[in-house]
Amino acid sequence: MIDELLSPEFVQLSLPPIVIGILASVACALPGNFLLLRRQALIGDAISHVVLPGIVVAFLVTGVISAWPMMIGAALAAILAIVMIEVIRRIGQVEPGAAMGVVFTTLFAAGVLLLEQSDTSSVHLDVEHALHGNLESLIWFDAIGWASLTNPDALAGLPPQILRLAVVLSGVAIFLALFWKELAISTFDPAFAAAIGAPTGIVSAGLVIATAIAAVAAFDAVGSIIVIAMFICPPATARLMTNRLDRQVAWSVVFAAAAAIIGYVVAGYGPLWFGYANAVSAAGMIATVSGVLLGIACLFGPVRRRVGEAAQ
C-alpha cells in the first residue's frame, strides 16, 4: 500500500481524481446542510437534472465544448428551473413536490431530445457522460512523483477542474461563513428571522444560487450522481450525529471527504484485490459509499431518533 502511494503512477493517475472528488463532494455537502434542514433537499436533485439542457443549449449556441459557456448555460438552466417551479407552485397552486417533478423531468426530457436532434457525434457530449462524469479521466500527465507538487511547470499541467472546484468551494464556504447567523435563524425559525428584520429572502436566494453554482461546477468534473448524493447523504449522516449546527456542518465535511476517498480507492483498487483487472465507476462508488455511511448512521447514530411526530 505504501509502495502504491509513493509510486509516480499514484500521483499521476489517482491523486487528481481523489482531490477533485473531495473538492466536489465538500462543495456540495456544505450548502446541502442547510437545504436538508429547510426540507429543500431535493432542490439539488432538480438542479442536477436541469444541468443537462443547459449544457446542450450552451453547446448548440457556441458550437464548442468548453467549460465556461457550459457552466453559464447550466447556471441559466438552473435559474429557469427554479423560476418555473415557483410559477407553477404559486400561480397553478400545485404542491411543491409535484411542481418540482413536473419541471425537472420536462427540462431533462427537453435536454435529451435536443441532444438527439443535434449533431454531437463529433464531440464528447452524451447523457451517460452527464450522469457518470469522467472522474477517472482527470489525470495529471506532467507528474513524475510527489516532487512534482513543488514544480511550477508540472503544476501548470494539473486538470483545470481542480482550480475551478477550489474557487467554487472557497466561494461557497465564504458565503456560509459570512451569512452563518442569518442562514441559521432563517432556517430554524423563519418567522422570527422575518420579525427581527433579517434578510431572509436574500439569504434563501443566495443559498439556492450557491447550491446551483456548486452543482454546476461539481457536475462538470464528476457527473450528476455524485452531486445529488453529496447534497443529501453527508449532511443527513451528520444530522444523525449531533444536535448542533456547527458540528453537523463539520461532520458533513468529514463524511463527504471520506466518501470521496474511500469510494475512489474501492472503485480503482477494489477489483484488483479480488483479482479483476478492470476498475468500476468511481462516481457510482463514491455515491454508494456515502449511502453506506448514511446507513450506518441510521442504525447507530447517537441522535438518530426523532422527538415527536413525523413531519411530512
Binding site: L42, I91, T105, T106, A267, A287, A310
Partner: protein
C-alpha cells in the same frame, strides 16, 4: 421542415396514430397508451397523498436490480437480456428502495425528502457501479442495458412489446379494482380509517402500483423520466376538477393521450426518442391546462383579477361622482365612459347621476347596518362592492331606510349641489 420532408413524416405519423405502421409499432403505441393510462391513474392517488417524489426514488432504485438480474441470468447460462427477468430484478430493488424511504422516515429523524434523495442517489450510483462491472464481464451481448436509462422502443422484440402491453393492461385493471379504498385514503385518510379501510396497506398498494408502472415503463420511457408520467398527468388533471373520481379519470386520459401520441410521433420520425417525447407531450397538456383552465388557470385568474379591479374602480368612481369629487384615474374614467355613466368631457350623464346617488345611498345603508347592529351577520358581507339588495330583502332595506331618511336627504343635497 420542408414540404417534401413534411409529407412522408405526416403520413408516417397518421399511420402510427391509426395503428397502420406495422404490427410492432402498433403494439408499442398501444402499450405506451396503456402505460400512460395506468401511470396517470396511479399517479393521481400518489399526487393526492402528496408523495409524488417518492416515485422518483422508486424509479432510480430499479437500476441495481436490472444489473443484478442481468448478471445472475448471464451466469446461469441464459440470455442476460430476457425482459421479464430484468423487470423482476428491477421490481425487487425498487421495493427495497421504497421500503428504505419508508423506514428512514419512520425510524430516524430524517424527513421524507432527505430519505427520497438519499435512496435515489445511492441506488442509482450503485447501479452505475454494477453497469461498469457488467461491461468488464465476458458474458457477451451485454450492450443495451443502458437503454433502460432513457428508454428505447427502436428494435424492441415482439415478445417484449407484448409483455409491456399486457402488463400495462393488468396495472390499469388493478387501479380500477382498487379505486374505492385508494380514493378514500387519498382523499381523507382519517375518515378512511374509521370506515375500516387499512390505511397503511392501501398506501402500500398505491406505491405498489407506482412500482408496477415504473417497472413496465422502464423499456419505453426509461428510469430517469418515468416519474414524469406519474406526476404530470395528475397535476394536469388537478386544473380541471375538484372531484376525486374525475381527477383520476382525467389524469388517466391525459396520461394515455401523452403515451399514445408520443409513441406514434417517435415511431414516425428519426431521432425522436420515445421517453422524452412522451414526457414533453405530457408537459404540453400540463402547460395548456395551466394557461386555460377555468378553475385555476393563469388566464382565468387574470380575468377574475381584472373583473374585480374594474368593479372596484367603477364603484369608487361612482362614489366620487356622488360626492362631487373630481376623478383623475384614467382607468376609472375609461370604465365610467364605457358604461355610459359620464360623457367624454367628464360630466355625468343622467344614468351616471342615478347610479352615483344609488351607490352613495347603498354605502350609507351599509354604514348604518354595520354601525347599528354589531351582531348582525349580514354586516359581515360588506366588502365595498356587494349591492345591498343581494344581502337583504326589500322589507329589511325599507326598515333600514326609515332610520336613514334625514341623513340620506343631506347626502342627496350634497350630491345635487355639486353639479
Amino acid at each position: 421542415m420542408t414540404g417534401d420532408a413534411a409529407n412522408p413524416f405526416l403520413r408516417l405519423l397518421f399511420d402510427a396514430l391509426l395503428l397502420q405502421g406495422g404490427f410492432n409499432t402498433a403494439l408499442v403505441t398501444v402499450g405506451a397508451g396503456l402505460l400512460g393510462l395506468a401511470a396517470g391513474a396511479a399517479g393521481a392517488f400518489i399526487f393526492l397523498r402528496k408523495r409524488s417524489l417518492v416515485s422518483d426514488a422508486v424509479s432510480h432504485a430499479t437500476l441495481p436490480g436490472i444489473c443484478l438480474a442481468f448478471i445472475v441470468m448471464a451466469y446461469a447460462g441464459g440470455d442476460g437480456r430476457w425482459l421479464p427477468g430484468l423487470l423482476l430484478g428491477s421490481a425487487l430493488t425498487a421495493a427495497i428502495g421504497l421500503y428504505l424511504v419508508d423506514w428512514m422516515t419512520h425510524a430516524t429523524r430524517l424527513s421524507q425528502d432527505a430519505a427520497i434523495g438519499a435512496v435515489l442517489s445511492v441506488f442509482f450510483g450503485f447501479g452505475i457501479v454494477l453497469l461498469t462491472v457488467i461491461q468488464t464481464l465476458n458474458v457477451g451481448r451485454q450492450a443495451g442495458l443502458d437503454t433502460f436509462l432513457l428508454g428505447s422502443t427502436a428494435g424492441m422484440l415482439r415478445s417484449e412489446a407484448t409483455t409491456i402491453a399486457a402488463a400495462a393492461a393488468v396495472s390499469a385493471a388493478c387501479v380500477y379494482a382498487l379505486r374505492r379504498p385508494m380514493t378514500l385514503v387519498a382523499f381523507d385518510p382519517a375518515f378512511a380509517a374509521t370506515t375500516g379501510v387499512n390505511v397503511r396497506r392501501t398506501d402500500l398498494a398505491i406505491m405498489g402500483l407506482a412500482l408496477l408502472v415504473t417497472v413496465i415503463g422502464l423499456k419505453i420511457v426509461g428510469l430517469v423520466l418515468i416519474v414524469a408520467l406519474l406526476i404530470i398527468p395528475a397535476a394536469t388533471a388537478r386544473f380541471w376538477t375538484d372531484q376525486v373520481e374525475q381527477l383520476i379519470l382525467i389524469a388517466a386520459g391525459a396520461g394515455a393521450a401523452a403515451g399514445y401520441v408520443g409513441a406514434a410521433l417517435s415511431a414516425a420520425a428519426d431521432k425522436l426518442p420515445t421517453g422524452p417525447i412522451i414526457v414533453l407531450m405530457s408537459f404540453a397538456l400540463f402547460a395548456v391546462s395551466l394557461l386555460v383552465s377555468p378553475l385555476r388557470g393563469v388566464l382565468a385568474s387574470a380575468a377574475r383579477r381584472r373583473r374585480f379591479q374594474r368593479r372596484v374602480h367603477a364603484r369608487q368612481g361612482l362614489l366620487a361622482m356622488a360626492r362631487g369629487e373630481p376623478i383623475y384615474d384614467p382607468l376609472t374614467l375609461r370604465i365610467l365612459k364605457r358604461d355610459g355613466l359620464i360623457r367624454p368631457d367628464g360630466v355625468a350623464t343622467l344614468d351616471g347621476r342615478a347610479a352615483a346617488s344609488k351607490a352613495l345611498r347603498d354605502e350609507a345603508r351599509w354604514e348604518l347596518l354595520r354601525r347599528s347592529s354589531g351582531e348582525n351577520p349580514l354586516a359581515e358581507r360588506y366588502d365595498g362592492l356587494t349591492p345591498i339588495e343581494e344581502v337583504m330583502t326589500q322589507d329589511q332595506i325599507a326598515a333600514l331606510d326609515a332610520q336613514l331618511t334625514p341623513r340620506l336627504t343631506a347626502g342627496q343635497d350634497e350630491a345635487g349641489s355639486s353639479e
